[in-house]
Amino acid sequence: MKFETPAKTNPIDNLKVVGQPIHRIDGELKTTGRAMYAYEWHDPNMRYAYGYPLGSAIAKGRIKSMDVAAVQKSPGVLSVVTTLSVGDLGKGKLNTAKLFGGDKIEHYHQAIAVVVAETFEQARAAASLIQVDYQEESAAFDLAAAKGSAVKPKDAGGAPPDSAVGDFDGAFKSAAVSFDGTYTTPDQSHAMMEPHASIAAWDDDELTVWTSSQMIDWWRSDLAATLGMEKEKIHLMSPFIGGGFGGKLFLRSDAVLAALAAKAAGRPVKVALPRPFIANNTTHRPATIQRIRIGAQRDGKITAIGHESWSGDLPGGGLETAAMQTRLLYAGENRMTAMRLAELNLPEGNAMRAPGEAPGLMALEIAIDEMAEKLGIDPIEFRIVNDTQVDPENPERPFSHRNLIGCLKLGAERFGWSERKQPGLRREGNWLVGLGVAAGFRNNLVMPSGARVRLAGDGVVTVETDMTDIGTGSYTIIAQTAAEMMGVTVEKVGVHLGDSRFPVSAGSGGQFGANSATSGVYAACIKLREAVAKKLGFNSNDVVFENGQVRSGNRSVALAEAAGSDGLVGEDTMEWGDLTDTHQQSTFSGHFVEVGVDAATGETRIRRMLAVCAAGRIINPITARSQVIGAMTMGAGLALSEELAVDTRHGFFVNHDLAGYEVPVHADIPHQDVIFMDETDPMSSPMKAKGIGELGLCGVSAAIANAIYNATGVRVRHYPITLDKVIGGLPEVA
């Protein structure tokens, strides 16, 4: 099915199941420990061996030699596979640095060996015995130092790296009020709870991998390319994933090492990346330096807006597209954006939840707050004055649906925004208290997505798709979609995900998963409905599926009966026309935060958070809310503590564990509220839904930054906003 024209009324609009607050159907499996994560698969008939990886101790250079003699004599060791012994391997299309193979070192903790032993402990102990002789090369690790050498790359995630409308320079110079600020965001880690892990087993020349992947088909393709084998010979399974946030979008070394280790040992092998590998062996969100310039009339109307961003990556890598949202978020006749890429030899930078917008809004939404203050206008009013219903760079192109103003107004009312005082004026005991607001914005992406839906003789509907559930609720919303389409309750629907034998889906990323994958299920269900109607001799145009019955005119047949003993199958892939080109599809939010800053120590503690989100139809308000509060929590971490600390001498992230890289704990997260605007977007899909998982993060950190300013009068432009950056501007301790 191709979605080419705006959705009309369809069976989803019945909202008997879709849109309802249904608890996750996989919840019981997870809370009782029966959901099998990658490393936990256990077949008593398999003699698993354990692989432990070794990472490079240098950031750039080559390996002259490796001595594994001691390893081979170590107790329990079955085999040692080194990056030299496997020779040159292929590289996945979506990987920047090689995951394994050859003598070249591209970054710290790049995998250089895997030791296989009878037990995990034996493998780990033996891996430490490998002696490596390196030839180190000089390299660049400091973004600020490399900024001057940054170049304009070919593209910015499929778009041009620069854009310009009107005369930005002239308009900025002549603006009645202008603002020019530079901001930085640090390298950030996905820090998901489940580390990357794979089990590989060979059967002749066929390979099965149980892994933790957001994108089954991407992994399968890139694993085939890396190993130089046919994609069809690889079977990938990833039904449960303990968090990804973009860190599991692209094939990682655990799958490659497990496959090679299993081959060498002649046994199925389990490989999990040790926690310190997450920072330096896998990908991260690159640091940015951003300059934002805004010019406006005294009434607050923006006349010039410019956003430049610099980030770094390995040779052949890409940009952190932090200026992209500035092309779309606010009006203004004269505009420019420019993004530049420096070559750095830190580990590979790549997508992390809301790539581009998350760090972009961390800067832009402070700048908007600063400009509003300069203008003497309330920051919500300033955003409303500069709202746009069309793509400001291309006014012929309207937004499909945009209600940022509604989010901000409703949020202001619910949060008590009118009680906000001037900076530094509200004190409660030892606490300086402040309120902050920011707009959230994230584009709605769509991806082709396939599914197969079976109707069995017992009336049970089973969905199969290689879609993944990374903790987001995919199982549940797919069940809801199939239930709605087939006129049954969710209890009558089984959902099987994350298996490369199933139709290729959108996968989980870019907040495209929920809308795209449920649309794929919608398309497959249309096929199945047609098959049911045809079998019953019904006219498929007037057939109604409800309460487990199929009805046409005055005839009604139980769905189970219609299926017959052989059952029926519908399979299809949702494809997309040009509605995302003709209309700008985006999601919007208003984030509101109240913080307390300790007047003596400068410690910031969040007191209240509210997100008001406009993201089309909400398929399930419970799972959607979970996505948003999780994202708000991530935004709190990015604002207040998360920073991969770069050792610019040796080129690695030093704080490579969860004691050093501080993600929020429960005590950091206070009361969180989420409100969804009651809306649909018929341009987006038959589901009329849009993404929510990344929107929840976009703008949160800036709202916190703005609240800290309101509390203290100290403006911090460099994340994370730790106490050392605030303390100098606090009042004397009496």
Binding site: A57, P75, E121, R124, A125, S128, P276, N430, D598, A600, T601, G602, E603, R605, L640, S641, A645, V646, D647, R649, H650, V654, N655, H656, D657, A659, G660, E662, P664, V665, H666, A667, D668, P720, T722, L723, D724, I727, G728, L730, V733, A734
Partner: protein
């Protein structure tokens, strides 16, 4: 983690003897720090002496009116003990400010004193570290040092001791009781128990080979307001950037012990003497010899401000 042999010690003397006879042996109690370090190949003992069964898990009154805390009393039990909460509040508060509930349930009193630094370079075996590989150099100097020491540091090491409990015990003038392999017993004051790094940062305490901690003794209660203020980026489950354990009397005199700034809980008589004059004076005395890095120089200011808040709280 290397393969190791394991024994359960039958007595404190046997434990000390076993440790003295094998320089690669380590005592294990709660294991909350040692096991992590073994997994990372930072500690590589060939033999573990399990001391959990030695019955050192009691808190008893001393004839002098103080308390003797058995080496194996768990942090949770110590923090919750009625007399500790009533008469030694700074210790109870310091304990619950540390780690997490699960860790405190396992962690012991002696083990807490013996925990190793959290310097990130100590934790990466690829990097030079004088604590981990004596003579290899200090990566933290000139590296990432925001969390690290500002006073009592050396060219060989700027690591800090991560314990909250020890900071409070230093304020209370606690003493560490030990038994040596030859069976002799001694008492080491908290002031002397942890060493400054100097040229030998891998030697962290005054304990001799095989010497085994049996208890920590608290002197009789001294009254006053007991405050433990831990400053950190994250609200819980984070090591202190700076912490202050204080016992302040109604007349403004008192004791201040500072965590997060040195290789040991940092307390100076000269600073205690300045306390009645206020935070600025006391802090200046505490940090008179501070040697900071660009990344951790904020701690000087932070100590003064935090101490200011502590004094205000004490005046209540």
């Amino acid at each position: 983690m290397r393969a190791f042999t394991y024994e359960r010690a039958a007595s404190v003397e046997a434990a000390a003897g076993a440790a003295a006879s094998n320089p690669e042996a380590k005592f294990i109690a709660g294991g909350t720090n040692l096991l992590d370090l073994m997994k990372l190949e930072i500690e590589t003992p060939s033999h573990l002496i399990d001391v959990n069964g030695l019955g050192l898990d009691r808190i008893e009154a001393t004839p002098e009116g103080g308390l003797r805390i058995g080496a194996l009393v768990r942090n949770t039990d110590l923090a919750a003990h009625e007399t500790i909460r009533r008469d030694y509040g700074v210790l109870s508060r310091a304990l619950v400010a540390g780690a997490s509930g699960q860790l405190r349930n396992k962690a012991t009193t002696a083990g807490n004193l013996m925990q190793r630094t959290r310097c990130p370079y100590f934790y990466d075996t690829n990097q030079p570290c004088n604590k981990r590989r004596p003579g290899s150099g200090c990566s933290a100097l000139g590296g990432i040092s925001r969390q690290l020491g500002v006073v009592g540091v050396s060219d060989a090491c700027i690591a800090t001791h991560p314990s909250d409990m020890a900071v409070a015990m230093r304020a209370l003038d606690a003493a560490v009781e030990t038994v040596k392999p030859d069976g002799t017993r001694r008492s080491i004051g908290m002031a002397d128990f942890h060493r400054l790094p100097g040229d030998t940062p891998h030697i962290e305490t005054e304990l001799k080979s095989g010497e085994f901690i049996t208890a920590v003794v608290l002197p009789p209660p001294i009254g006053g307001r007991h405050i433990y203020r831990k400053v950190r980026d994250r609200a819980s489950y984070a090591f202190a950037l700076v912490s202050i354990g204080a016992v302040i009397q109604p007349d403004g005199t008192g004791r201040i012990s500072v965590g997060g700034v040195a290789h040991k809980p940092w307390r100076l008589d000269a600073a205690d003497a300045e306390l009645p004059k206020g935070a600025k004076a006391a802090s200046a005395a505490l940090l008179a010899d501070a040697r900071t890095t660009e990344q951790n120089k904020f701690k000087v200011d932070l100590v003064e401000r935090t101490l200011g808040a502590v004094i205000l709280e004490a005046r209540g």
